[in-house]
């Protein structure tokens, strides 16, 4: 597939990002380094919890989404990074052996007056699990180089 530039995104377009299976080892490894709370390490010992059992750190789910969008289209694009995330919601826990799938929908494209070599694409991204639950969604802008800037 040809490398994607700003011009290749159209409002309403839905980009599939493939799928990814999550292992308990991966959940625990991420948690041990970044989010060592009992629910993410598999050592919950009673207490009053909202969710029982081993679940992935919310930020781990975000990082997994990032790997999916990289493989989906970002690594083969003129991506210049992102200034942030407007809204991010975690709606359902991710457990060992869940298979996540994701897609990105283009909700807005605009050029930059101050930087004519780039454009801004706003997306809504959704991550679902194997039973169709929405696990996480977010809306954010990503900066992309423009085709004419690359060819000039």
């Amino acid at each position: 597939m040809a490398k994607r530039f700003f011009e290749d995104f159209t409002v309403g377009e839905k980009l599939p990002l493939g799928s990814k299976q999550v292992t308990s080892a991966e959940i625990i490894a991420y948690a041990a380094e970044f989010d060592p709370q009992p629910a993410h390490l598999g050592d919950q010992t009673g207490g009053e919890m909202i969710i029982d059992g081993l679940i992935a750190s919310s930020w781990h789910v975000g990082a997994l989404f990032m790997s999916m969008i990289c493989d989906g289209f970002l690594l083969d694009s003129s991506s210049m990074g992102s200034p942030g995330i407007e809204t991010l919601k975690w709606r359902h826990p991710v457990r060992p052996d869940d298979t996540l799938s994701a897609f990105s929908i283009v909700i807005e494209t605009r050029t930059s007056k101050s930087r004519p070599e780039m454009g801004i694409v706003r997306f809504r991204h959704e991550v679902h699990n194997q039973t169709g639950d929405i696990v996480m969604w977010l809306e954010n802008p990503i900066l992309f180089g423009r085709r004419q800037a690359a060819s000039s």
Binding site: E33, G62, L75, G81, T87
Partner: protein, 159 residues
């Protein structure tokens, strides 16, 4: 941090700092975010960001790491006073997450957190939802990261 009842809007606390090494930046990127500005020092120079820098998800992960550490330290103090440490529930989400400046190799980012909102959960009795603004400043005092997260906190002390 204590139970929901003891948290006051406006409370703020330092969470400590973290230096991002090149090795660590590339290790995180290899797993989760292989854009060239996170994986390759030479190629990164040709990009908008200008040099190798941490994935935004890496910066967020370190924010969480230091926040959890700070909370654990606080809970130890609560336990030392003979009280049960409060339960922290899941995160609902974050708003206005901003990667304000790149986090470059060997930048040292100091994170802090401030309570900006609290409300009782309508769906889960016994729990409140606390909104916390997290901020990260680099060694020059420049803001590099901000977000406002919403987390369940137990209203009653649990054992």
């Amino acid at each position: 941090m204590t139970t929901y009842e003891h948290i006051a809007i406006g409370d703020s606390f330092e969470c400590g700092s973290h230096r991002f090494s090149a090795e660590e930046i590339k290790r995180f990127a290899k797993l989760y975010d292989q854009q060239v500005f996170h994986t390759d020092e030479v190629a990164a120079k040709e990009t908008l960001l200008g040099a190798l820098c941490a994935s935004g998800w890496h910066t967020a992960a370190i924010m969480m790491k230091l926040f959890v550490k700070r909370l654990a330290d606080e809970n130890e103090k609560v336990k030392a006073r003979g009280k049960a440490a409060p339960a922290l529930g899941p995160s609902l989400g974050v708003d206005d997450l901003r990667w304000l400046k790149p986090v470059f190799v060997d930048d040292e980012i100091a994170f802090s957190a401030q309570i900006v909102g609290k409300r009782e959960s309508e769906s889960r009795p016994g729990w409140g939802i606390v909104s916390i603004k997290s901020s990260g400043l680099n060694q020059k005092g420049e803001p590099v990261f901000a977000c406002t997260g919403h987390i369940f906190v137990a209203k009653i002390e649990t054992d």
